[in-house]
Symmetry: C2
Subunit: 342 residues, 2 copies
């Protein structure tokens, strides 16, 4: 299906920062279209850690990633932007005031400005090189993120990895899983000292089997039903077989800016260089906010991305409404303006 | 009482942005002390518009100013900073790593860095030059902000002013007050076109008496009990007497940076010039965030102040913990660290 849309601002990335950009543009009466390679909005919050608590969103002492996205969805509901999900933004033609953004399904979005809120880019898990892996992935026997802790209750689980995700999930699943092993190729975990101490305590009490320094070497089972995970000690012939109905593999994310990397934007270590006062990239009319943007003082915090969304929207206003002064207004005075549908 | 405190970061201003700076410093294990000229935390949110809805705080589609402050208070509760309220920050001696901030009660706060989150500075309402005003202020017959809409139910109210506050409160009180007049010295209001149209509609339906172009000329009543407000038509001798138990005067805020203006910080139109990447002022170790700060791309939005609080805390970390690398961590991984009391 080819579907051509015309809007004020095309927003690439429907994670929390992209969603909030819809709101900030909407408050300035600019229409938006959302584009994301994932098939659901929310970015990593939805796809990777929906149940994780976040503590540093202002006036939310604790909010799960999925509740954050739900709150943002309610906030942008008045603006109801058209969404092109499951699409990659492939090409960008034209210039400020008249861009044509083409997706991998050959849809064209005409827009006066573009906001890239692409996070770490199109992302996916790093997969372990094990034979027969795909069949176990298909049944959910091998998982790269935990959509629901409850789904693992009473099951035998092997966690592989040495970073925060592996350590945090080992702690979170210790009193849920019937049997729990944590495999890491080094003796030490890349986790906060408290976390490592808690892992050691769980191991001492028998709730967790710490398997270090070992790495994954094979999967046992058939028809997508996992029975055990084979692991090998580094630097020796020793192997062990760990009972496992589910393997959680946390080897980080392979991220990829994808086609955006070829749009002629100035880049710096896989991030897009922006003017910190406007969030404009080296290509006029194209803005980048959130984790994909790079400037002095950049922190990869959702909160900073939210602020950048407000700044970019204000900087874009003269492109969408040339010659029209923007009278700065507080939301307390204006409320949320009604928009005609895009 | 003289009370000397020692802390990592002295935060001047306990409005929303100052409160969130406590949180961001706390997340980096830096202790804080809060200082504010008002006797309650929350700044203008608490003192001027506690019931006003705010729409642009992320993942809060609508939150009242008082609920915003309550949420921030819950968020910073784990850090429980000492508070010096009802105090002006008067003098700043010393240098980065060893400041001594002295209040108007001669208390000294020793701090390694200072964050100025002073908003519009110490602020107060512009008061109309009417004889006998103080007696009516003392009884609440003349008010400069509305602490509670319900307290005005069934009363005769005169609103004076031509800006957003006057117009918004006229709309909000039309079906609450027994009798309502809106006095402005010009024919037109400085309000959004929709708001002006709604005022005109209320006037047409008899729910609101629009009194323009008039200005306040006197107060009638005795013992602090207001009976009527006298107004005079501009450029003529015509006067009118409006029945009034309560006068709401919205003539804006007189703001004043106060002693901070003499701390030798580079200023620009009553705002403090900062480096946008660090929020540091021209005086090393002194940072400014929120409405008091000036940089290219500055928006006077609470949201941007929140982001600046995070940036300033990260920039301050090497002053408080020299030589100690700051490993960037997400709140989802670390949770909220426990701090020893200041």
């Amino acid at each position: 299906m080819t579907k051509d849309l015309s809007t004020d601002v095309a927003i690439v990335g429907a994670g929390p920062v992209g969603l909030f950009a819809v709101f900030e543009c909407g408050m300035l009466r600019m229409k938006t279209v959302l584009i994301d390679v994932l098939t659901a909005a929310g970015g990593q919050c939805t796809a990777l850690y929906p149940e994780k608590p976040i503590y540093d969103i202002p006036a939310h002492p604790m909010i799960s990633a999925s509740a954050l996205i739900a709150g943002l969805e309610r906030q942008i509901a008045p603006f109801a932007p058209p969404r092109l999900l499951g699409r990659r933004a492939c090409r960008l033609e034209g210039a400020a005031g008249d861009f044509r953004l083409v997706t991998d399904r050959d849809e064209t979005v005409r827009a006066k400005a573009v906001i890239l809120a692409a996070g770490a880019g199109a992302f996916g898990p790093n997969r372990p090189p094990l034979s027969g892996l795909a069949a176990f992935e298909a049944t959910g026997a091998v998982q790269y993120y935990v959509a629901s802790r409850e789904s693992l209750r009473g099951r035998s689980v092997v966690i592989a990895g040495g970073g925060d995700s592996a350590a945090d999930w080992a702690l979170a699943l210790a009193d849920v899983a019937a049997e729990l092993s944590l495999v890491h190729r080094r003796e030490k975990f890349r986790a906060a000292p408290e976390t490592s101490a808690r892992l050691a305590a769980l191991a001492a009490s028998g709730q967790l089997r710490l398997v270090t320094p070992f790495q994954l070497s094979g999967l046992r089972g058939r028809g997508g039903r996992l029975e055990a995970v084979e692991v090998s000690r580094l630097g020796s012939d020793e192997t062990r077989v760990l009972p496992a109905e589910v393997l959680l593999a946390f080897f980080g994310l392979a991220t990829d800016l994808g086609p955006i990397a070829s749009w002629g934007l100035a880049l710096e270590r896989h991030q897009i260089v922006v003017d910190p006062g406007t969030l404009e990239t080296s290509r006029p009319g194209v803005f980048a906010i959130g984790d994909v943007a790079s400037h002095r003082g950049k922190l990869k915090l959702i909160l900073q991305g939210f602020s950048e969304a407000a700044m970019a929207a204000h900087a874009i206003h003269p492109i969408v409404f040339p010659g029209q002064a923007l009278h700065f207004e507080y939301s307390t005075s204006t409320g949320v303006p009604a928009l005609a549908p895009a």
